[in-house]
């Protein structure tokens, strides 16, 4: 079983597993976040049913960006002792977790809740992973909102 703290994997994710990865003798608090594949997406035309999602990752860069988020968390919340971020790839069915985050601190008041929230927001901004929504009559790659500081300076978008 993997003990990596930052991992992109095609294997199903487990909250017990990620909690074990950050468990330490000096930490009495672990906050976890699970992002779950939902069966419905809100669109301008109303709710649309999703059959399943397909996730693609730039694996090496994704793991290195996740580790960077871990470093950012430790810098912003110095009491944090361990951070783990796991993201699934491939076909995911409704109800399956696509991403898990765990943050361990000595005590619950040491920032683990805020740090966990920060980590998922940063993941959605900088970690190179994409989802393709599949429904009964089609599929589309989802593009996140443009982060001007990351956009390549080329052509009309620069």
């Amino acid at each position: 079983m993997s003990t990596k703290l930052f991992e992109v994997t095609a294997t199903p994710l487990s909250l017990d597993d990620i909690s074990r990865r950050v468990t330490r003798a000096d930490c009495g608090a672990i906050t976890t976040f699970a992002g779950i594949v939902r069966g419905e997406t809100a669109t301008a035309e109303g709710a649309r049913g999703t059959d399943f999602l397909n996730y693609e990752a730039y694996g090496e860069m994704a793991e290195s960006m996740m580790a960077r988020i871990g470093d950012e968390v430790m810098a912003k919340w110095p009491a944090v002792k361990a951070v783990s971020i796991l993201h699934r790839t491939g076909r995911l069915e409704i109800g399956e977790p696509s991403v898990l985050i765990a943050v361990a601190t000595p005590h619950r008041g040491d920032g683990c809740f805020d740090a966990c929230r920060y980590a998922i927001e940063r993941l959605k901004a900088i970690v190179p992973i994409w989802k393709e929504e599949n429904w009964s009559d089609g599929q589309v790659w989802v593009e996140g909102p443009r982060q001007p500081e990351l956009a390549a300076e080329y052509g009309k978008t620069s």
Partner: protein, 97 residues
């Protein structure tokens, strides 16, 4: 020199390939590489779309100098995690707006 170009998600699908070698003159920058990709693969429409570029797994800007053997990746804005009804951005006051 030769760099390796990698594409992901929509860009990979539109091009029909995920990696290709690209020959560039010595001293070329990322911007030069993008111009060459645009010339060789016009179907990617990289002149008219938002995309991110990375050199050796680090986000990079156009002026970055490339070296032989570098890995140049281009990909759409990322969309990992669950499905959001409204994509949020973290703000330093602790709220997501």
């Amino acid at each position: 020199m030769e760099v390796r170009v990698r594409l992901f998600a929509t860009l990979r699908q539109q091009a029909g390939w995920s990696q290709q070698p690209l020959t560039l003159p010595d001293g070329a920058t990322l911007r030069d590489a993008l111009a060459e990709i645009d010339r060789q693969y016009p179907a990617l429409s990289i002149g008219t779309r938002t995309f991110y570029a990375a050199v050796n797994q680090e986000y990079a800007k156009g002026e970055q100098l490339l070296r032989d053997g570098d890995e140049v990746a281009i990909f759409p804005p990322v969309s990992g995690g669950g499905i959001d009804e409204r994509m949020t951005r973290w703000q330093d006051d602790g709220t997501a707006g």
